[in-house]
């Protein structure tokens, strides 16, 4: 027989709602905390990353600036060594009074001196140019060809530092293959030194800590003298970088598009290191992705745990609730509904019952129960009552509702088959009551049973004999009375004729 005492569906629903709400609130809190932690971590990481990359780029730029300054300084120092020999810097090839042979020997001497000074350097030019364009030392054909008749004039014009009487330049007539250094030797002579721009590749070589870092050397007019980007040398620095640099000579700048560091070096030139912010953000995106993934996994784990814990807790609550519920509705001795629950349930069933539904309210009274108690004791009497409960549960169907109304009085609301005729229904009641009477008789008859227990039964039928529990009960009780009157151990179905 099922849980015929039923459940409080309202309480069950409340528990279910509470459970769902608990999981929902917990999930929202966990997701909120995860989002907060992830976002704040990402922001912090972003700040730290940008700051560190800025510092790294700035340090790299300073290193590049030192490298180029060191390289340019080495060239200037080599040139200055020429002034250790008076014969070299005082000689004037334009002096018409020079002895031709003496001049030849002096120039050979100067030439040897020049070659020995630059012996280990990758200089393209290291020679002296006189006002009459006569040259001594190492002067490449390309330089001679490039400057032509204006060799001395234009080299001398490039001297722009008053204190040291020298100057640097690149891009003469658009040629950026070489970088030139010119120093005044005497009133009629200048020393010219040049090296290939490609030499700067080793000067600006860096360990490549930041991917896609671009390094440029730029002259004051924003023309690129050297670039780590191919085919950029000799072109104007792109506005996307030049506008950001503006007039800064030493700065680190960062916005949504570029991280740029700039430092001044040499002869009013600038070393510029730049990297698109997107490249840095690409690194950041990896970190973001990592943080969000970890956050999502943590949230899923936390929510999963909350569901498991919630089910664990609500399972216990449910169990306790069911137990209490059972105790509140069930007669603990007999295992059937107690009086109040039985009445409520019968009322509820009858209220819901349709016009074509039929029920039989069967009232059962244990015969001679007082005698059992008096003779065999209350303990045995309780056993008998418990046995009655068992008989009712076993004899009736799950859709039927048994209950104990008090003492030795029991009652069952039996569902009748809808399609039966009145006669058939009465026959079915007869059959059920006869079966019940037989079970009672068989249960309490035998060698070890000193006392015979039977049942008197009264029956009223819904809806023909009443539509409420009370009406039906009264009529069943009336029929029961008749059964007692008939000598007990029998059943009576209420009819108006009995009245």
């Amino acid at each position: 027989m099922g849980k015929f005492w039923g459940k409080s569906s309202e309480s069950q629903e409340n528990i279910r709602k509470f459970k769902f709400a608990m999981i929902l609130y917990y999930a929202v809190i966990i997701i909120g905390i995860t989002v907060f932690i992830s976002t704040s971590t990402i922001f912090k990481t972003d700040d730290v990353l940008k700051s560190k990359v800025s510092e790294l780029t700035s340090a790299l730029n300073v290193q590049m600036q030192m490298n180029i300054n060191s390289y340019l300084s080495k060239v200037e120092t080599t040139a200055a060594l020429l002034f250790a020999e008076k014969e070299v810097y005082l000689y004037d090839a334009t002096n018409e009074s020079n002895d031709e042979y003496e001049s030849l020997n002096t120039e050979n001497f100067i030439s040897d001196k020049l070659y020995s000074l630059c012996i280990m350097e990758n200089f393209v030019d290291f020679g002296i140019v006189y006002r009459n364009n006569h040259t001594v030392g190492k002067l490449s054909n390309n330089t001679k060809e490039l400057f032509g008749d204006r060799l001395y004039e234009d080299l001398a014009a490039s001297i722009n530092r008053e204190r040291t009487h020298d100057g640097w330049f690149a891009g003469y007539n658009g040629n950026y293959n070489r970088i030139y250094y010119v120093k005044r030797v005497n009133d009629n002579a200048v020393l010219v030194t040049s090296f290939y721009t490609t030499e700067l590749e080793s000067v600006f070589e860096h360990p490549g800590g930041i991917a896609d870092m671009e390094i440029r050397l730029m002259e004051a007019s924003n023309v690129i003298i050297y670039s780590s980007v191919e085919n950029e040398t000799g072109t104007q620095l792109g506005s996307e970088i030049s506008t950001r640099i503006g007039d800064h000579s030493s700065a680190t700048l960062m916005d949504d598009q570029y991280l740029i560091t700039v430092n001044q070096c040499g002869d009013n030139w600038k070393v510029i290191c730049s990297v698109p912010t997107q490249i840095i953000l690409k690194e950041k995106n990896y970190v973001e992705y990592y943080i969000l993934t970890i956050g999502a996994i943590a949230a899923i784990i936390a929510i999963g745990l909350s569901i498991i814990l919630s089910f664990g807790i609500s399972g216990s609550v449910d169990k306790t609730f069911t137990s209490l519920n059972r105790k509140a509705h069930i007669d603990l001795l007999t295992g059937v509904l107690n009086k109040r629950s039985f009445e409520e349930r019968v009322e509820a069933i009858l209220k819901k019952a349709g016009d074509a539904e039929y029920y039989a309210l069967i009232l059962i009274d244990v015969d001679n129960f007082k005698g059992v108690n008096d003779t065999l004791g209350h303990a045995y009497g309780d056993k008998v009552l418990a046995g009655v409960g068992e008989i009712l549960r076993n004899t009736f169907q799950p859709e039927d509702t048994p209950g104990r109304l008090g003492g030795d009085e029991f009652c069952v609301l039996m569902k009748m088959k809808d399609a039966d005729s009145d006669a058939e229904r009465l026959a079915a009641i007869d059959e059920k009551c006869a079966e019940l009477g037989a079970v009672f008789r068989n249960t309490y008859t035998g060698d070890d049973k000193n006392y015979k227990v039977s049942a008197s039964i009264g029956v009223s039928v819904y809806p023909t004999k009443g539509t409420s529990f009370l009406e039906l009960y009264k009529k069943a009780d009336s029929a029961l009375y008749l059964s007692k009157k008939k000598g007990k151990d029998t059943f009576t179905i209420y009819s108006e004729e009995q009245e």
């Binding site: 042979y101 030849l104 030439s111 012996i119 200089f123 393209v124 054909n141 060809e145 080793s202 664990g312």
Partner: protein, 421 residues
Amino acid sequence: MKTKKLLTVLLAMMLFTGCGSDAVVTSYTEPVEISLSWWGNDVRHEYTIAAVKEFEKLHPDIEVNCHYSEWSGYQQRSNAQMASDTEADVMQINYAWIQQYSPDGMGFYDINKVSDYIDLSNFTQEELNFGMQHGSLNAIPIALNTQTVYINKTVYADYGLDVPKTWDDIFEAAKVMNGEVYPLSMVAKSVWFCSVAYAEQQIGKQFMTIEGDINFSAEDIQLMLDFYCRLIHEKVIPQPEYFDQLNMNSGQYAGTVAWISDASSHCSKAIENGYEIVVADYLSDTAEKLKGWYEKPATMYAISKNTSYPEQSAMLLDFLLNSEEMAVLQGVEKGVPVSESARTALAKNDMLTGIQYEAFQKMNDRTKEISLVSPYLENDDLITEFCNAGNAVLYDKISAEEQAKELQKRFQSILAQAKEY
């Protein structure tokens, strides 16, 4: 109880996965760094750097540092580097340097030891012999070279002159040109080779043996000095110290004597300017007793005996000598390559053309007239001494006879020193 267990497991997982503080170790694979040195002009620098970049692309684990400059002063630098063991791993060298730096064959790395990395089958044994020294393959020739006469036929025609064949033709041309233009021009080394050729043709014996022993007497050397002075005095050539290659472009120099490998740099601009430049016959004397012209490997590649990376150096060497990439970039700038695969690549790309190739063909046609040069004949000190001595005679500071005697002693001394190196 179950919840407690679950929390313990979770805590343990967190500790294992995220809360440790292991040291971060980042390791790097450093590329092998080797160096390459050469001399030359801008064109050579540009294509060699481009070739090195190609090589580095093919071998990303090898980084090549380039050291290069023009020829002027290069040998002094090379002397210093070789003496101080700071030379590059792979070097472009002159033929004469094998004798100078490796008289016993131990001055350079024996390339035979790394023959697995270089395809030597591209060279005949005769060609490889140029680099053999006491059984050790010290260097491999890039191309063959000889001093060649290039004549601006247009300028000569302007003066009603044919392309010269003899020294007399040259002196005659100088008279006709009357100082307006020089019929020839040359750097000191070419003046030296011309003086040797002239003297050998007159005398009928070689200036020195292949081993570097001088055959010339003081009188013979005087002939060379006289010839030098005559060339300058009669304005056949400008003073070598004042030689300016750019004058060839404008027709100021109506001819030049230079190596085959220098043909392009000396003549291409003049050709671009509309002049017809031809490869003339090797100048001779009407009554010559000897041809007097020499051939040698143009330049060679060698590996430093001190290299830490012989295999990688050999791989670079193979790329520079035999690869199609390098052959196409280089063309015939250094002369027609000796390497068969490089020549094949040039032929395939129709690059065996131009004045340099014509000069190469002239050398091939006259191969019987040309002797193999002694490595000592190119000694820079010999040449400097000769020009200085010639200048002293030219400016009447000393007689040619007296100077020749002095010079002979100086020559002996210089060669003795060179052999002791």
